[in-house]
Symmetry: C2
Subunit: 119 residues, 2 copies
């Protein structure tokens, strides 16, 4: 991921509606969600949602497929991973103390819910 792509991704996430879309889609998993469901879940008009979905799609953070009448949107895990990696790579430039605090959040990732952090 180069600087241009990173900027596009940050722009995409720098908007309340779009951040919520990404959150909802990540939670929804690979199956994704129909545009209509997303619209009601987030509370925006279909027109407005389409606008933001296009932005996110263009930034490589989500993808879509048609299923019957509906268009299903899902999170682009690779795009999201790339962004995290970019952020950490930049922040780590000779300064590991920036990334270190994020280790806790990451380690909480592969553990069943409720499992505490202490070594």
């Amino acid at each position: 991921m180069d600087e241009r792509q990173a900027v596009a991704a940050f722009v995409a996430l720098g908007q309340e509606t779009r951040l919520r879309v990404v959150r909802a889609l990540v939670v929804a998993g690979p199956n994704g969600l129909a545009a209509g469901l997303l619209a009601t879940e987030i509370g925006v008009s279909a027109t407005n949602l389409t606008f933001h979905l296009k932005e996110l799609s263009h930034a490589g953070l989500i993808q879509s497929r048609r299923e019957g009448k509906s268009v299903i949107y899902s999170a682009a895990y690779e795009g999201l991973s790339d962004l995290i990696a970019f952020l950490m790579r930049d922040c780590c430039q000779g300064r590991p103390e920036v990334c270190a605090p994020a280790v806790a959040a990451l380690s909480a990732c592969n553990r069943p819910p409720g499992d505490s952090v202490h070594a």
Copy 2:
């Protein structure tokens, strides 16, 4: 870090000049850089830089202190850490496969340069 703060941080990083400022300041380390040096290094006018520095400061990603005639800006490591943590926490919601690829970048953080990754 709540949603509102995260959005502000993403907005701040979603602009080429500002992203470069953060990069330069992270590389510069805790000592930071004078505003004038930053301006020449990045290639923008003093006026314009001030505008972007204010945005970044408001987003909690940088901080400043006065030293004589100069104002020294430096990266706010905590703010950056919080943003990474937020991104990973959101992306990890039951979907660790999103964060996993970032582990490599993170592990590269605490190792001397040139040391390879293989276990």
